[in-house]
Protein backbone atom coordinates (compact mmCIF):
# COMPACT_ATOMS: atom_id res chain seq x y z
CA UNK A 1 0.00 0.00 0.00
CA UNK A 2 1.47 3.33 -0.99
CA UNK A 3 1.06 6.80 0.51
CA UNK A 4 -1.76 7.78 -1.81
CA UNK A 5 -3.75 4.66 -0.99
CA UNK A 6 -3.20 5.20 2.71
CA UNK A 7 -4.31 8.83 2.48
CA UNK A 8 -7.56 7.65 0.96
CA UNK A 9 -8.10 5.36 3.91
CA UNK A 10 -6.91 7.60 6.76
CA UNK A 11 -10.39 8.74 7.74
CA UNK A 12 -11.83 5.24 7.61
CA UNK A 13 -8.85 4.02 9.64
CA UNK A 14 -9.41 6.67 12.29
CA UNK A 15 -13.08 5.74 12.51
CA UNK A 16 -12.32 2.01 12.77
CA UNK A 17 -14.07 1.43 9.46
CA UNK A 18 -11.46 -0.76 7.79
CA UNK A 19 -11.56 -4.50 7.51
CA UNK A 20 -8.85 -6.67 8.97
CA UNK A 21 -6.53 -6.74 6.00
CA UNK A 22 -6.82 -3.04 5.19
CA UNK A 23 -6.22 -2.02 8.76
CA UNK A 24 -3.11 -4.18 9.00
CA UNK A 25 -1.83 -2.75 5.73
CA UNK A 26 -2.38 0.82 6.88
CA UNK A 27 -0.66 0.19 10.20
CA UNK A 28 2.27 -1.43 8.43
CA UNK A 29 2.60 1.62 6.21
CA UNK A 30 2.29 4.10 9.07
CA UNK A 31 5.04 2.24 10.90
CA UNK A 32 7.54 3.09 8.22
CA UNK A 33 6.25 6.32 6.69
CA UNK A 34 6.32 9.72 8.30
CA UNK A 35 4.02 11.38 5.80
CA UNK A 36 0.78 10.84 7.69
CA UNK A 37 1.07 13.08 10.71
CA UNK A 38 -2.59 14.01 10.68
CA UNK A 39 -3.77 10.48 11.37
CA UNK A 40 -3.26 11.02 15.10
CA UNK A 41 -5.44 14.14 14.88
CA UNK A 42 -8.11 12.11 13.17
CA UNK A 43 -7.92 9.47 15.87
CA UNK A 44 -8.25 12.24 18.45
CA UNK A 45 -11.41 13.36 16.71
CA UNK A 46 -12.74 9.81 16.86
CA UNK A 47 -11.98 9.68 20.58
CA UNK A 48 -13.94 12.86 21.05
CA UNK A 49 -16.85 11.34 19.16
CA UNK A 50 -16.67 8.37 21.52
CA UNK A 51 -16.69 10.52 24.61
CA UNK A 52 -19.51 12.60 23.15
CA UNK A 53 -21.88 9.66 22.92
CA UNK A 54 -24.84 9.92 25.25
CA UNK A 55 -24.42 8.12 28.51
CA UNK A 56 -26.75 5.39 29.71
CA UNK A 57 -27.20 3.47 32.91
CA UNK A 58 -26.06 -0.13 32.97
CA UNK A 59 -27.70 -2.65 35.25
CA UNK A 60 -26.93 -2.30 38.93
CA UNK A 61 -25.10 -5.60 38.98
CA UNK A 62 -22.44 -4.61 36.49
CA UNK A 63 -20.40 -2.67 39.02
CA UNK A 64 -20.20 -5.65 41.35
CA UNK A 65 -19.38 -7.91 38.43
CA UNK A 66 -16.51 -5.71 37.32
CA UNK A 67 -15.06 -5.44 40.81
CA UNK A 68 -15.47 -9.16 41.46
CA UNK A 69 -13.72 -9.97 38.20
CA UNK A 70 -10.93 -7.58 39.11
CA UNK A 71 -10.51 -9.36 42.42
CA UNK A 72 -10.26 -12.66 40.58
CA UNK A 73 -7.90 -11.14 38.08
CA UNK A 74 -5.21 -9.12 39.71
CA UNK A 75 -2.44 -7.79 37.54
CA UNK A 76 -1.26 -10.07 34.78
CA UNK A 77 2.12 -10.35 36.46
CA UNK A 78 0.46 -11.66 39.62
CA UNK A 79 -1.34 -14.54 37.99
CA UNK A 80 0.32 -17.32 39.88
CA UNK A 81 -2.21 -19.78 41.28
CA UNK A 82 -2.65 -21.78 38.13
CA UNK A 83 0.79 -21.32 36.69
CA UNK A 84 2.21 -24.48 38.15
CA UNK A 85 -0.21 -26.97 36.70
CA UNK A 86 -0.35 -25.14 33.47
CA UNK A 87 3.40 -24.96 33.22
CA UNK A 88 3.63 -28.68 33.74
CA UNK A 89 1.04 -29.34 31.06
CA UNK A 90 2.82 -26.95 28.76
CA UNK A 91 6.11 -28.74 29.26
CA UNK A 92 4.52 -32.02 28.24
CA UNK A 93 3.11 -30.44 25.13
CA UNK A 94 6.49 -29.09 24.20
CA UNK A 95 7.90 -32.60 24.26
CA UNK A 96 5.04 -33.93 22.20
CA UNK A 97 4.97 -31.13 19.70
CA UNK A 98 8.67 -30.67 19.48
CA UNK A 99 10.48 -28.01 17.64
CA UNK A 100 11.54 -29.08 14.20
CA UNK A 101 13.84 -26.26 13.50
CA UNK A 102 14.98 -23.14 15.21
CA UNK A 103 17.06 -20.40 13.84
CA UNK A 104 18.41 -17.58 15.83
CA UNK A 105 20.34 -14.68 14.58
CA UNK A 106 21.13 -11.22 15.69
CA UNK A 107 21.12 -8.35 13.31
CA UNK A 108 21.85 -4.72 13.85
CA UNK A 109 18.79 -2.55 14.30
CA UNK A 110 18.26 1.13 13.93
CA UNK A 111 19.62 3.66 16.37
CA UNK A 112 21.93 1.19 18.00
CA UNK A 113 19.25 -1.23 19.16
CA UNK A 114 19.54 -4.88 18.24
CA UNK A 115 16.74 -6.80 16.65
CA UNK A 116 16.63 -10.36 17.82
CA UNK A 117 15.15 -12.65 15.22
CA UNK A 118 13.97 -16.11 16.00
CA UNK A 119 12.36 -18.46 13.52
CA UNK A 120 11.13 -21.95 14.13
CA UNK A 121 8.51 -24.44 13.11
CA UNK A 122 6.45 -26.42 15.58
CA UNK A 123 5.69 -30.09 15.37
CA UNK A 124 2.17 -29.21 14.32
CA UNK A 125 3.43 -27.33 11.29
CA UNK A 126 3.12 -23.75 12.49
CA UNK A 127 5.91 -21.51 11.22
CA UNK A 128 6.83 -18.75 13.62
CA UNK A 129 9.04 -15.70 13.32
CA UNK A 130 9.67 -13.17 16.04
CA UNK A 131 11.52 -9.91 15.55
CA UNK A 132 12.11 -8.65 19.05
CA UNK A 133 13.52 -5.33 20.13
CA UNK A 134 14.65 -6.03 23.67
CA UNK A 135 14.16 -2.93 25.75
CA UNK A 136 11.71 -1.48 23.26
CA UNK A 137 7.95 -1.81 23.36
CA UNK A 138 7.48 -2.72 19.72
CA UNK A 139 8.17 -6.17 18.37
CA UNK A 140 6.80 -8.16 15.49
CA UNK A 141 5.49 -11.66 15.03
CA UNK A 142 4.59 -13.68 11.97
CA UNK A 143 2.71 -16.97 12.00
CA UNK A 144 1.89 -19.35 9.18
CA UNK A 145 0.09 -22.66 9.28
CA UNK A 146 -2.45 -21.65 11.89
CA UNK A 147 -6.09 -22.65 11.75
CA UNK A 148 -8.11 -20.45 9.44
CA UNK A 149 -9.96 -17.58 11.13
CA UNK A 150 -9.12 -18.69 14.64
CA UNK A 151 -8.56 -16.41 17.61
CA UNK A 152 -5.21 -16.86 19.30
CA UNK A 153 -3.61 -15.49 22.42
CA UNK A 154 0.09 -14.75 22.63
CA UNK A 155 1.77 -14.90 26.02
CA UNK A 156 5.14 -14.08 27.49
CA UNK A 157 6.40 -16.28 30.29
CA UNK A 158 8.71 -14.45 32.65
CA UNK A 159 9.84 -16.59 35.52
CA UNK A 160 6.64 -17.90 37.05
CA UNK A 161 4.49 -15.18 35.56
CA UNK A 162 2.39 -15.44 32.45
CA UNK A 163 1.94 -12.06 30.84
CA UNK A 164 -0.64 -11.43 28.18
CA UNK A 165 0.91 -9.96 25.06
CA UNK A 166 -2.30 -9.84 23.09
CA UNK A 167 -4.79 -11.67 20.93
CA UNK A 168 -5.15 -11.83 17.20
CA UNK A 169 -7.19 -13.60 14.59
CA UNK A 170 -5.63 -15.58 11.80
CA UNK A 171 -6.67 -14.78 8.27
CA UNK A 172 -8.46 -17.28 6.02
CA UNK A 173 -5.08 -18.72 4.96
CA UNK A 174 -4.07 -19.34 8.56
CA UNK A 175 -1.57 -16.52 8.66
CA UNK A 176 -1.07 -13.53 10.85
CA UNK A 177 1.62 -10.93 10.94
CA UNK A 178 1.67 -7.82 13.04
CA UNK A 179 3.31 -5.69 15.64
CA UNK A 180 2.68 -6.01 19.31
CA UNK A 181 3.40 -3.55 22.02
CA UNK A 182 5.08 -5.43 24.77
CA UNK A 183 8.52 -5.03 26.27
CA UNK A 184 10.20 -8.38 25.90
CA UNK A 185 13.20 -9.16 28.04
CA UNK A 186 16.05 -11.57 27.42
CA UNK A 187 15.13 -14.86 29.07
CA UNK A 188 11.44 -14.50 28.35
CA UNK A 189 9.64 -17.40 26.72
CA UNK A 190 6.73 -16.95 24.38
CA UNK A 191 3.66 -19.12 24.21
CA UNK A 192 0.73 -19.32 21.84
CA UNK A 193 -2.67 -20.67 22.78
CA UNK A 194 -6.13 -20.59 21.31
CA UNK A 195 -7.85 -17.55 22.78
CA UNK A 196 -10.58 -17.92 25.34
CA UNK A 197 -13.81 -15.97 25.18
CA UNK A 198 -12.11 -13.00 26.76
CA UNK A 199 -8.52 -11.83 26.69
CA UNK A 200 -8.80 -11.76 30.45
CA UNK A 201 -9.16 -15.50 30.62
CA UNK A 202 -6.09 -17.44 31.49
CA UNK A 203 -4.46 -19.74 28.96
CA UNK A 204 -7.14 -21.78 27.29
CA UNK A 205 -6.40 -25.24 26.05
CA UNK A 206 -3.01 -26.66 25.27
CA UNK A 207 -0.16 -24.41 24.18
CA UNK A 208 0.61 -24.58 20.49
CA UNK A 209 4.21 -23.86 21.41
CA UNK A 210 6.33 -22.50 24.20
CA UNK A 211 9.69 -21.24 23.10
CA UNK A 212 12.51 -19.47 24.87
CA UNK A 213 13.78 -16.29 23.31
Amino acid sequence: MNCEQVRELEAAFALDALDEEERAAVIAHLDVCGEHGNVAEQRAVAMLLASGAAGAVPSAGLRDRVLASAADRPHASNRRPWVWWYGAAAAIVIVVAGVIAATMLMSGGDEGSDVYVKEFETGSGVSVRFEVNFGETASRATFRGLESRENYHLWAIRGEDWLSIGTFRSNPEGRWSGDFEFQMRPGDAVCLTVAGESEHSGPFGEPIFIEDL
Partner: protein, 177 residues
Protein backbone atom coordinates in the same frame (compact mmCIF):
# COMPACT_ATOMS: atom_id res chain seq x y z
CA UNK B 1 -0.78 5.39 39.50
CA UNK B 2 -3.40 3.89 41.77
CA UNK B 3 -4.56 1.48 39.09
CA UNK B 4 -0.99 0.34 38.56
CA UNK B 5 -0.78 -0.34 42.30
CA UNK B 6 -3.83 -2.59 42.04
CA UNK B 7 -5.97 -0.28 44.12
CA UNK B 8 -9.50 -1.60 43.67
CA UNK B 9 -10.89 1.62 45.10
CA UNK B 10 -9.38 3.40 42.10
CA UNK B 11 -11.16 0.98 39.77
CA UNK B 12 -14.42 1.55 41.61
CA UNK B 13 -13.98 5.31 41.30
CA UNK B 14 -13.19 4.99 37.62
CA UNK B 15 -16.28 2.86 37.20
CA UNK B 16 -18.48 5.35 39.03
CA UNK B 17 -17.12 8.22 36.96
CA UNK B 18 -17.12 6.62 33.52
CA UNK B 19 -19.39 3.58 33.36
CA UNK B 20 -22.40 5.53 32.14
CA UNK B 21 -20.52 7.01 29.23
CA UNK B 22 -18.85 3.70 28.40
CA UNK B 23 -22.13 1.83 28.53
CA UNK B 24 -23.85 4.46 26.43
CA UNK B 25 -21.14 4.15 23.80
CA UNK B 26 -21.15 0.34 23.88
CA UNK B 27 -24.94 0.25 23.67
CA UNK B 28 -24.99 2.66 20.75
CA UNK B 29 -22.56 0.47 18.83
CA UNK B 30 -23.97 -2.94 19.74
CA UNK B 31 -27.64 -2.07 20.16
CA UNK B 32 -27.76 -4.87 22.70
CA UNK B 33 -27.87 -4.22 26.44
CA UNK B 34 -26.32 -7.47 27.72
CA UNK B 35 -23.66 -7.35 25.02
CA UNK B 36 -22.91 -3.73 25.87
CA UNK B 37 -22.47 -4.72 29.51
CA UNK B 38 -20.06 -7.47 28.51
CA UNK B 39 -18.12 -4.95 26.45
CA UNK B 40 -17.97 -2.48 29.33
CA UNK B 41 -17.00 -5.24 31.75
CA UNK B 42 -14.11 -6.29 29.52
CA UNK B 43 -13.03 -2.68 28.98
CA UNK B 44 -12.80 -2.01 32.70
CA UNK B 45 -10.91 -5.23 33.23
CA UNK B 46 -8.52 -4.20 30.48
CA UNK B 47 -7.88 -0.98 32.37
CA UNK B 48 -7.35 -2.97 35.55
CA UNK B 49 -4.99 -5.46 34.02
CA UNK B 50 -3.02 -2.81 32.17
CA UNK B 51 -2.84 -0.24 34.93
CA UNK B 52 0.81 0.38 34.25
CA UNK B 53 0.05 1.21 30.64
CA UNK B 54 -2.85 3.40 31.67
CA UNK B 55 -0.51 5.40 33.84
CA UNK B 56 2.15 5.61 31.17
CA UNK B 57 -0.27 6.87 28.55
CA UNK B 58 -0.75 10.58 28.34
CA UNK B 59 -4.33 11.72 28.28
CA UNK B 60 -7.27 10.97 30.47
CA UNK B 61 -8.04 7.44 31.64
CA UNK B 62 -11.59 8.04 30.45
CA UNK B 63 -10.46 8.67 26.87
CA UNK B 64 -8.43 5.48 26.98
CA UNK B 65 -11.32 3.54 28.52
CA UNK B 66 -13.68 4.74 25.81
CA UNK B 67 -11.18 3.85 23.12
CA UNK B 68 -10.95 0.31 24.47
CA UNK B 69 -14.73 0.18 24.87
CA UNK B 70 -15.28 1.28 21.29
CA UNK B 71 -12.81 -1.24 19.91
CA UNK B 72 -14.42 -4.06 21.85
CA UNK B 73 -17.89 -2.99 20.80
CA UNK B 74 -16.82 -2.91 17.14
CA UNK B 75 -15.26 -6.33 17.54
CA UNK B 76 -18.49 -7.63 19.01
CA UNK B 77 -20.59 -6.24 16.17
CA UNK B 78 -18.32 -7.68 13.51
CA UNK B 79 -18.08 -11.00 15.24
CA UNK B 80 -21.84 -11.07 15.44
CA UNK B 81 -22.07 -10.43 11.73
CA UNK B 82 -19.45 -13.14 11.19
CA UNK B 83 -17.31 -10.79 9.23
CA UNK B 84 -13.97 -9.46 10.29
CA UNK B 85 -14.47 -10.86 13.77
CA UNK B 86 -11.26 -9.53 15.19
CA UNK B 87 -8.44 -7.47 13.90
CA UNK B 88 -4.84 -8.13 14.64
CA UNK B 89 -2.98 -5.89 17.00
CA UNK B 90 -5.18 -2.92 17.59
CA UNK B 91 -8.05 -4.60 19.33
CA UNK B 92 -6.04 -5.47 22.38
CA UNK B 93 -3.71 -2.57 22.81
CA UNK B 94 -4.40 0.96 21.80
CA UNK B 95 -1.77 1.42 19.15
CA UNK B 96 0.89 4.07 18.67
CA UNK B 97 -1.52 6.31 16.80
CA UNK B 98 -3.96 6.08 19.70
CA UNK B 99 -1.25 7.09 22.12
CA UNK B 100 -0.37 10.09 19.96
CA UNK B 101 -4.05 11.00 19.82
CA UNK B 102 -4.39 10.75 23.59
CA UNK B 103 -1.34 12.98 23.96
CA UNK B 104 -2.96 15.53 21.65
CA UNK B 105 -6.10 15.52 23.74
CA UNK B 106 -4.04 15.98 26.89
CA UNK B 107 -2.89 19.31 25.53
CA UNK B 108 -6.33 20.80 25.00
CA UNK B 109 -9.43 21.47 27.02
CA UNK B 110 -11.04 18.19 26.11
CA UNK B 111 -14.59 19.14 27.09
CA UNK B 112 -14.44 22.34 25.07
CA UNK B 113 -12.96 20.70 22.01
CA UNK B 114 -15.42 17.83 22.22
CA UNK B 115 -18.25 20.32 22.16
CA UNK B 116 -16.84 21.93 19.04
CA UNK B 117 -16.41 18.56 17.35
CA UNK B 118 -19.98 17.58 18.17
CA UNK B 119 -21.26 20.87 16.80
CA UNK B 120 -19.21 20.25 13.68
CA UNK B 121 -20.68 16.76 13.45
CA UNK B 122 -24.16 18.23 13.45
CA UNK B 123 -23.05 20.64 10.76
CA UNK B 124 -22.01 17.92 8.33
CA UNK B 125 -24.26 17.31 5.40
CA UNK B 126 -26.63 14.36 5.94
CA UNK B 127 -24.65 11.97 3.76
CA UNK B 128 -21.39 12.67 5.55
CA UNK B 129 -23.01 12.47 8.96
CA UNK B 130 -24.64 9.17 8.11
CA UNK B 131 -21.34 7.77 6.88
CA UNK B 132 -19.66 8.70 10.17
CA UNK B 133 -22.54 7.22 12.14
CA UNK B 134 -22.54 3.94 10.23
CA UNK B 135 -18.77 3.63 10.50
CA UNK B 136 -18.09 4.75 14.01
CA UNK B 137 -21.29 4.04 15.86
CA UNK B 138 -22.53 0.98 14.03
CA UNK B 139 -19.24 -0.70 13.39
CA UNK B 140 -19.56 -0.96 9.61
CA UNK B 141 -16.53 -0.97 7.37
CA UNK B 142 -16.48 1.47 4.49
CA UNK B 143 -17.11 -1.45 2.16
CA UNK B 144 -20.13 -2.56 4.16
CA UNK B 145 -21.45 0.98 4.09
CA UNK B 146 -21.04 1.07 0.33
CA UNK B 147 -22.91 -2.22 -0.03
CA UNK B 148 -25.66 -1.18 2.36
CA UNK B 149 -26.26 2.11 0.59
CA UNK B 150 -25.55 0.86 -2.94
CA UNK B 151 -22.75 3.37 -3.33
CA UNK B 152 -19.32 3.05 -4.90
CA UNK B 153 -16.67 2.44 -2.25
CA UNK B 154 -14.88 5.54 -3.46
CA UNK B 155 -17.92 7.65 -2.63
CA UNK B 156 -17.99 6.35 0.92
CA UNK B 157 -14.27 6.98 1.31
CA UNK B 158 -14.76 10.52 0.06
CA UNK B 159 -17.63 11.17 2.44
CA UNK B 160 -15.63 9.92 5.39
CA UNK B 161 -12.59 11.88 4.33
CA UNK B 162 -14.52 15.13 3.88
CA UNK B 163 -16.38 14.61 7.14
CA UNK B 164 -13.19 13.96 9.02
CA UNK B 165 -11.61 17.03 7.47
CA UNK B 166 -14.37 19.21 8.87
CA UNK B 167 -14.24 17.55 12.27
CA UNK B 168 -10.48 17.97 12.37
CA UNK B 169 -10.90 21.63 11.62
CA UNK B 170 -13.04 21.87 14.75
CA UNK B 171 -10.31 20.16 16.74
CA UNK B 172 -7.81 22.73 15.55
CA UNK B 173 -10.00 25.79 16.00
CA UNK B 174 -8.51 26.47 19.39
CA UNK B 175 -5.16 27.21 17.82
CA UNK B 176 -6.56 29.88 15.57
CA UNK B 177 -9.06 31.42 17.98
Amino acid sequence: VRLARRDRTALAELYDACSGRAFGLAYRVTGDGPAAEDVVHDAFLWMWEHGDRVDATRGSPEALLLTVTHRRAIDYVRKRSRQDARRPGGEVFPDAIDEQALALLAEVDEAEVRERVLVALEGLNPEQREAVDLAFFQGMTHQQIAAARSLPVGTVKSRLRLAMGRLRAALREEDSS
